[in-house]
Amino acid sequence: MVQFDKLNILIFEEYFLLSDALSKMLEILGMGRIYKATTRSDAQNTLYRGFKGSHISHFDFAIIDLAPPNNHGLDLLQWLRNHENKDLRYLPVILTTNDTREKVVLTGRDFGAHEILVKPYSAHNVSRRILTLINKPRPFIQSPDYKGPDRRRRAETFEGKDRRKLSINDIEIIDERLSA
């Protein structure tokens, strides 16, 4: 029996009704402590305080709403991906949105979200995204243009002309698995 109650989650959703519904759903799925932040600053403070070691030891992942029209969710994601604390920088994030347009989904991906979840929430969709975070982790990419999980989900061979500008000398592979 997997004890999902060991996982602590932060939800950033400005609309209380959805935040409550999502939190209730996660509770039923057996998750541990759930913190509901309705403002970006509350989310930032709580994520940081958690990692500083106060009432919540740390968060294992975050579910962040895009929060249009100001897109505070993207700001929060950007803050995480550029954070000096490694645990915050690598924090798995599920980005939620009520917008199905491709440009919105691609923006979320390019800001470093691990998973994108289009509303309405369903227990099936939410649980699937969480299981992907747990079962299919991807390496973290840190480059001048992008910080986040590897955007390629499949390793495929390519037959055409190699147009990559990077050479092998530009890439540094860091394996932190053994030191964990």
């Binding site: 997997v2 004890q3 999902f4 060991k6 996982l7 609309y15 009704l17 959805l18 519904a21 209730k24 759903m25 039923i28 799925l29 057996g30 294992d60 992942f61 249009p68 029209p69 100001n70 690598y90 798995p92 009520n98 917008d99 509303k119 309405p120 929430y121 369903s122 227990a123 099936h124 939410v126 649980s127 969480i130 299981l131 975070l133 747990i134 079962n135 982790p137 390496p139 973290f140 990419i141 840190q142 480059s143 001048p144 590897d150 500008k165 990077l166 050479s167 000398n169 530009d170 890439i171 540094e172 592979i173 860091i174 394996d175 932190e176 698995r177 964990a180």
Partner: protein, 169 residues
């Protein structure tokens, strides 16, 4: 010669989530018990109709009031601020409509949300288009025509469509 000043780092981290759930050496895939997913699904669809109705009423009322405020405002800076508030409320109604499967209200708010992204308040045609959205949303809520299953739903949808077509460039 490389075009990149900084190296690209590919970091393979430990799977901390799985380690926390299963311990250091057990890497089997985890799943949720199906009964928990079913229960969570039931809980999600089990919302109180009275609370939802009150919430929708309050959101639509606020939207109408914000819109009327915006129409009266002549100051550019205030207009930008009020427009953001209108956008926020449109999003809330969209979220609520998606949550409750109010398909017609979802259609109206999705349309308004996209329109607001490029709206020009100095263009009288744009004012008419927003007004048409606000009117159909108000009518839909007052007459409980929230889904496409309702008999007058198509009529409201076409009314909005006509207003958009007649006022588009």
């Amino acid at each position: 010669m490389s075009v990149y000043q900084h190296k690209v780092q590919i970091i393979y981290g430990a799977n901390k989530l799985k380690m926390k759930l299963l311990g250091r050496h057990n890497m089997q895939d985890v799943t949720f018990p199906p009964y928990a997913i079913r229960r969570a699904e039931r809980e999600l669809s089990n919302h109180d109709p009275f609370i939802i109705d009150q919430e929708m009423k309050s959101l639509v009322f606020s939207t109408i009031s914000i819109w009327s405020n915006l129409k009266e405002s002549r100051e550019k800076r205030k207009q930008t601020h009020v427009l953001m508030t209108l956008h926020t409320y449109t999003n809330r109604i969209l979220d609520l409509s998606l949550f409750c499967s109010f398909t017609l209200m979802t259609h109206f708010t999705q349309s308004l949300k996209i329109f607001l992204e490029h709206v020009d308040l100095d263009n009288p045609a744009h004012i008419v288009i927003i007004q048409a959205h606000v009117d159909v949303m108000d009518l839909a809520h007052q007459n409980k025509i929230l889904t496409f299953n309702a008999p007058q739903a198509q009529h409201l949808k076409h009314t909005l469509q006509r207003a958009i077509e007649q006022n588009s460039d």
